[in-house]
Amino acid sequence: SKTGKENLSEKSEQKISVFAAASLADVMSKLAKEYQTKSGVKVALNFASSGTLARQMQEGATPGIYLSASPRWMKFACQDGSADSTVCFPVARNSLVAVVPTNSRIDTLPISPTLDFPNSFNGRLAIGDPAHVPAGQYAAEALKSLGCFKLLQPRFLKTKDVRSALMVVELGECEMGIVYATDAMKSKKVRAVGVFPESLHQPIEYWAAKGKHGGSTADSLLKYLHSAEADYIWKKFGFKTIAEPRKSVTNK
């Protein structure tokens, strides 16, 4: 069994598992593929919601890297010890946009405190559930900053994740939704009619952390995520990049 375990660790040197938020599925797949061809290390990706991933780590899963869309779950993972709080930093940024179905009468919506946002659309507003969906939390913050949160709250269609918020707009269930710019960009059935200025909410950041048992490969992949090559891919998928690894989430 001793040799067995050695084999296992040997193997784990050529293979790294990455737990990534499902909303990063396409970009991370691309990044992983590139990294794999570059380094020869096989990247096994596990996409699920940030919360599910954090719980899986808590229950003994040992990925090399944990990529969360939610600072909250990153914090949870770090406190739990399943993510290395010393090697934990944002890797990409996103922004919020207001989207409408392609055929909507709304053309553009210059989002600013002067805009009468609630009256600019009919029916419900699709946002991720602010109770647990990060995009929803940012949206709520932004709406608070705009001073129309209270007014709009009864009109929220709170969805289980930001992807669903986009979906209901795509299907015309809601005339308006607040989603990530990256998602809006990819959907052919919606138009982004306005961008929420970053000043209205906390910065929207995706965090990456090294797993509890992440080895040198994890470090190498984390580094890769900040490389120029990676930056190109991030941007291609609509994300904004972050130049330097920054502070740990736990210090935040």
Binding site: R55, R72, F76, H132, V133, L157, M167, L171, G172, E173
Partner: protein, 233 residues
């Protein structure tokens, strides 16, 4: 642990909503399931497998997809949904009725299968006898086939009920997670689970689910024993 029984208002509404959805959806699905179950049990026709495939789809597809398909069909812009909205002004999606419908659709194959199985196991000789006594097809079905298949109906009802209690994916997609209207127990559990540190609250609701399951089984066991006795050959 003391707050294990500290139900919040939203917990309570989730519990009652869950029960309401589960009971109603089983009741609504039952007559359709009986009709289709009988049809499948007693008729052989070309394309039967096709019909069955369609009926089993909600089982084969991930519930979220089922919910998505429902939304496409019955959403405000959906084929049927648009027509319904134009006609009556009613929007089904993201309402209590959506939760109900999602439950019905998802539990339907289970109920149908049970009933069909039980009907298949009813000896047609009794139906023949009823017919020589002057009973119409409908009368024969109601007075002979159905009572003799009653264990299957109960079994189907239980399966449907239980499945409804646990229904999550289709509901959250088609009906949304609206507290007091569509937030059933599984959706409430989900909401709790999405936030770190709410383990107690989650556990509380899971325990409620477990208790409901036990309760349903006790009732089912009681009914079933009677049905088996009654249908015994």
């Amino acid at each position: 642990m003391t707050d294990l029984f500290n139900f919040t208002a939203s917990d309570l509404s989730a519990i009652s909503l869950s029960l309401k959805v589960a009971i109603w959806s089983s009741i609504i699905a039952l007559p359709f399931a009986i009709a289709i179950g009988w049809f499948l049990a007693r008729n052989h026709f070309r394309g039967k497998a096709l019909l069955e495939g369609v009926i089993h789809l909600p089982l084969v597809l991930p519930p979220v997809v089922t919910g998505y398909l429902l939304l496409i069909i019955l959403g405000t812009n959906g084929v049927l949904g648009k027509w319904l909205y134009d006609l009556t002004g009613i929007r089904i999606a993201f309402s209590f009725y959506a939760a109900l419908l999602a439950s019905v659709v998802v539990s339907f194959p289970l109920i149908t299968r049970s009933i069909r199985l039980a009907i298949e196991l009813v000896d047609e000789k009794y139906e023949e006898a009823a017919r020589t006594l002057g009973a119409s097809r409908v009368k024969t079905f109601l007075s002979i086939t159905l009572p003799m298949a009653s264990p299957g109906i109960i079994s189907g009802f239980i399966l449907g009920f239980a499945r409804s209690l646990g229904e999550f994916g289709a509901t959250i997609t088609f009906a949304g997670n609206i507290e007091g209207e569509t937030q059933t127990l599984p959706l409430a559990v989900y909401s709790y689970m999405q936030v770190p540190g709410q383990d107690t609250a989650t556990f509380r609701l899971v325990m409620i689910s477990v208790l409901l399951s036990l309760l349903a089984m006790i009732v089912a066991e009681f009914l079933n024993r009677r049905a088996i006795k009654r249908s015994r050959k």
